[in-house]
């Protein structure tokens, strides 16, 4: 089991992590961050293997992974 934490104030909602995730664990949040953007959100924790591909593609270094 792995856990992904997204710093929503660093995230700009580009969606590249969603594209990179092989298990489809990430989606764009319906909420806003302080800059008025929709950040990425980590949803299904049962599927996540902690492969780290989302963190590799993130241009804003907003993702931390725990396993």
């Amino acid at each position: 089991m792995a856990r992904v934490e997204i710093n929503i104030e660093l995230c700009k909602g580009c969606g590249l992590c969603i594209e990179a995730c092989p298990k489809g664990c990430l989606k764009i949040s319906s909420g806003f961050n302080r800059m008025g953007e929709h950040p990425a959100e980590w949803g299904s924790d049962e599927m996540c293997t902690g492969c780290g591909l989302c963190a590799v593609v993130c241009p804003d270094c907003a993702i931390s992974i725990y396993k």
Binding site: A2, R3, E9, L10, K12, G13, C14, G15, L16, E19, A20, M35, E37, G50, G52, L53, A55, V56, V57, C58, P59, D60, C61, I63, S64, I65, Y66, K67
Partner: protein, 246 residues
């Protein structure tokens, strides 16, 4: 639970001013990760360019100097000669390196200065509003080529790594595309090799990153990544272009 990935120590915990999906963020991160892995944070100096990365000193947690208008390799030369034990990285964009700073980069490469150049190529001038750069693709629409770049009027895109690899002083020249996780990991290996060449005092090394500019390409971040794969990579082939130390 054990942490398996977190922000590198060499990157300050601040929000960058780059647009969503910009490749600069990825290049900043892999550079910071390599500096941490090699344990050279106390002796690294990055020379920031003019362009979107002009405020890099706000993001890196090591010494950063700023040299406007393509004079980054000249400042890096001086710094490396005065302080040869430091690791000097010239961080440049394509407008900065291939247009206004072409003279500096060519002569620094020809002298075989022991510096590492990180070249972020997005095919246009990002900061000033998306004008044509020497690396703009044929037919690409920019603010100054609204009908698309024409060869007879504006020339061909300049392939900087191929151009510089002719010089004997250049020990390592490589190009990678910032598209998927695989290519980003490859780019990190290339940049690590370039920095280890500088640490071994062997010569000039350059790594070019084909980077997305969703704002001025007028695409979404996902479409911009596809644009790199479909349009930029055929013009700028990725891989190691010159490596005299195998």
């Amino acid at each position: 639970m054990e942490i398996i990935y977190e922000r590198p120590e060499s990157l300050k915990d601040v929000r960058t001013h780059y647009c969503a999906g910009c490749g600069h963020g990825v290049v900043h991160r892999i550079l910071a990760e390599i500096v941490d892995e090699l344990g050279i944070r106390e002796k690294t100096v990055v020379i920031a360019p003019v362009g979107c990365a002009v405020l890099a000193y706000d993001y890196f947690n090591f010494d950063v100097c700023e040299a406007p208008h393509g004079r980054t390799p000249a400042v890096a030369t001086g710094m490396k000669r005065v302080r040869p034990s430091n690791v000097i990285i010239s961080y440049q964009g394509d407008g900065d390196l291939a247009a206004i700073g072409m003279a500096e980069i060519i002569h620094a490469a020809n002298r075989g200065e022991r510096i590492t150049v990180v070249f972020v190529n997005n095919g246009l001038y990002g900061m000033t509003g998306g004008q044509m750069a020497p690396t703009t693709l044929i037919g690409q629409r920019t603010a100054t080529t609204p009908m698309g770049r024409d060869f007879r009027e504006c020339g061909q895109p300049i392939k900087v790594c191929e151009l510089l690899s002719q010089f004997e002083g250049v020990v390592y020249a490589a190009r990678c595309a910032i598209t998927g996780p695989g290519n980003i990991i490859k780019g990190k290996k290339m940049l690590k090799k370039a920095l280890s060449i500088q640490l071994a005092d062997l010569g000039f090394s350059i790594v070019e990153f084909l980077s997305a500019c969703p704002t001025h390409w007028k695409l979404t971040p996902r479409e911009a990544v596809q644009y790199i794969e479909e349009k930029m990579v055929p013009c700028f082939p990725t891989g190691v272009i010159k490596d005299t130390i195998k």
